[in-house]
Amino acid sequence: MTGRILLAELRHSSLRWAWPVLVAIDLFALFGRSDHWIGVWSETGAAAQVPAFYLGPAMAALAAWTAARRRRENAGGWMDAAARPAPLMECVHLGTTLAHGVTAYGVGVIAAVAVTLPGGGPHFFWPGYVLLGLVVIVLCTGVGHAVGRAGTSLVAAPLGTALVLFVLFSFFGFVPQGAEWGLGLMVVSGYPDVVTAAGPMLARSALALAVVLVAVAVGRGLRSTPGRPGWPGVPVAALAACGFLAVSVVGFATAGPVLQQRGVPDEPLCTSHEPRVCLWPESRKYLEEAELMSRRVAALPADLFTSPAAFHETGLRGETTMGSGFYIREGEMWEVATSLAIRIQEVSTPPHCDAVTFDEDEKRWAADMELISWLTARIAGGGKPPTVNGGPPGVDEKAVHSIITEPEEVQVAWAEERLATIRDTRCV
């Protein structure tokens, strides 16, 4: 019967009007940001999770609003006299609220899977990131519900809760990079070299569950007549929930990074042409472009440049940092070309050194950067796309990129000049 009551709550919930808006937010966040993830399962999982950044605070606001509204409806008269355990009543209400957020999020997940499915690489949808997004939504909804029960405001409490969570997630929500500090509740990209780690994911799930349990266990307590104690007795459910929350917080804090290095694949996906450009199997949609890059690298003047035998997407050889590998950031192959250019530059020129004079140091630096810029443009097969910002410092990229339209002998002469500058630099 509790299931039927839940269905009735769903049917009559005020949030049913908000559901299409939640779905719209999800789909806008999913498709409005970028479409690079389509066709790559790891990126699809991450992209499907990104809307949680917005849905989480939105659900917190809605949960706070509907919880406070329930209180205003004064339906407590019936609930105060109910035989049904108070946490179960709260469960039905919070479950209804959660169902709206989770199903709206689910629509986005299904949409993401649907668009990737036709051309997706091997394997299938990565659920780890989606679970991470689910944790955020459940966590926020639980917090919002508790706040709504504690107060009566239909405006300040929901908006305040959403704002606080939004700011918190903006600054600290994401998986930290390097020395940054972060909660590790969200990711922006789903590089195929990392996966969500089971332990930290379990800790995050437990934390979300604990927040929900606290919200349902203390929810009715928060509504007691002010100044009047309830029936005597130990609030076992509330104490247990708070205890579980404390344990979950400790577990969350000590669980370690939420992302871990993925195991090396048995058979990476490599170009047929030498030098080989190898990708994670998930990155299959970039293989054709990688094949072209491989051919362009092979076409570089052999007497001037030496190429490594192969280039690898980061993590393919078990390395834990970028190192000599390359990332395909948001599907941008220009950056892959830059990585390949840097590698070629490294093996084709003497190791970097401090020049004896500042002037020589400046010249060598400029020659280095110009060559990388030129090599990048050659490997990428054209000028820099407008979607890529930045580039080697101090380089007139427009001028360098125009070189690649010149005849080969003009380009070779241009490159030889810069290589000579590098080789002739007198080191300390």
Partner: protein, 257 residues
């Protein structure tokens, strides 16, 4: 007498001054009318009997169970149908879903909820409007839906706080029929309307200042009427006369065993 409710030494209130001070009371099966002026403590007493508000002092026994903890209160509530004076409702719920929800709150067995909900709606004459949303109902209909929520599942003890407020004369007559039909349940009916008491109650209890001023049959209350007392009927005059008296009595109202 088989005691349904027994209260002893009850002290109850919300502020510094208790609303009820040292009340002793015993109620048996049948319909008991609870009369008293505003602030007499009628609603406070009903909230206490409904186990919503724990007593500050004293003991409350409901259906033989000494209610002294959340656990015992919950056990008692399964057999208590309580209509609060100012009850809330979920405006977007249908009448059927609202009553069913209240049955679920009272832990009416799942297998019985559907049938009990339908029966309660028939009893209050809302079967035809069971699909209507609560917010679309008139005040009288909302009150009837509330009564249905209180009687759904045929609880052993029904506590009705001002149930006829907002009902038109015809609906009040129907309500009286409904109360008469609740045989098997002990009913406590709090009201300002002496004629409702005269029509349906086997016993009457007059509460004033948190103390029981009278307990007995409506006929016995009518006999208390004194010449010159205000009121249009003997019962009203008896009621007014009792309110003029100062000595509280121990309130034992029970049907003969």
């Amino acid at each position: 007498m088989r005691s349904v409710v027994r209260v002893s030494g009850l002290v109850q209130g919300y502020g510094r001054d208790p609303v009820i001070a040292g009340l002793d009371l015993e109620l048996g099966p049948g319909v008991t009318g609870l009369l008293g002026p505003n602030g007499a403590g009628k609603s406070t007493l009903l909230r206490t009997l409904a186990t919503v508000t724990p007593p500050l002092e004293g003991e409350v026994h409901v259906l033989g169970e000494h209610v002294r903890s959340e656990r015992t209160a919950r056990a008692a509530r399964r057999e208590i149908g309580y209509l609060p004076q100012d009850f809330g409702y979920f405006g977007s719920h249908s009448v059927h879903d609202f009553v069913r929800y209240c049955a679920w709150l009272r832990e009416v067995p799942s297998a019985r909820i559907a049938e009990a909900t339908a029966a309660a709606l028939r009893r209050v004459g809302l079967a035809e409007r069971s699909g209507a949303r609560m917010k679309t109902l008139s005040g009288g209909m909302i009150r009837r839906a509330g009564i249905a929520a209180a009687v759904v599942g045929s609880p052993a003890l029904v506590l009705l706080d001002e149930p006829t407020v907002g009902l038109d004369p015809a609906q009040r007559l129907e309500f009286r029929e409904l109360v008469r039909s609740l045989d098997g349940s002990a009913v406590v009916l709090s009201t300002h309307l002496v004629e409702d008491v005269a029509a349906v109650c086997e016993r009457v209890l007059v509460l004033d200042g948190g103390s029981v001023r009278f307990t007995g049959t409506p006929a016995a209350l009518a006999e208390r009427a004194v010449p010159g007392a205000s009121g249009d009927t003997e019962l009203e005059r008896g009621y007014m006369a009792v309110l003029g008296a100062a000595t509280p009595v121990t309130g034992t109202t029970g049907a003969p065993a």
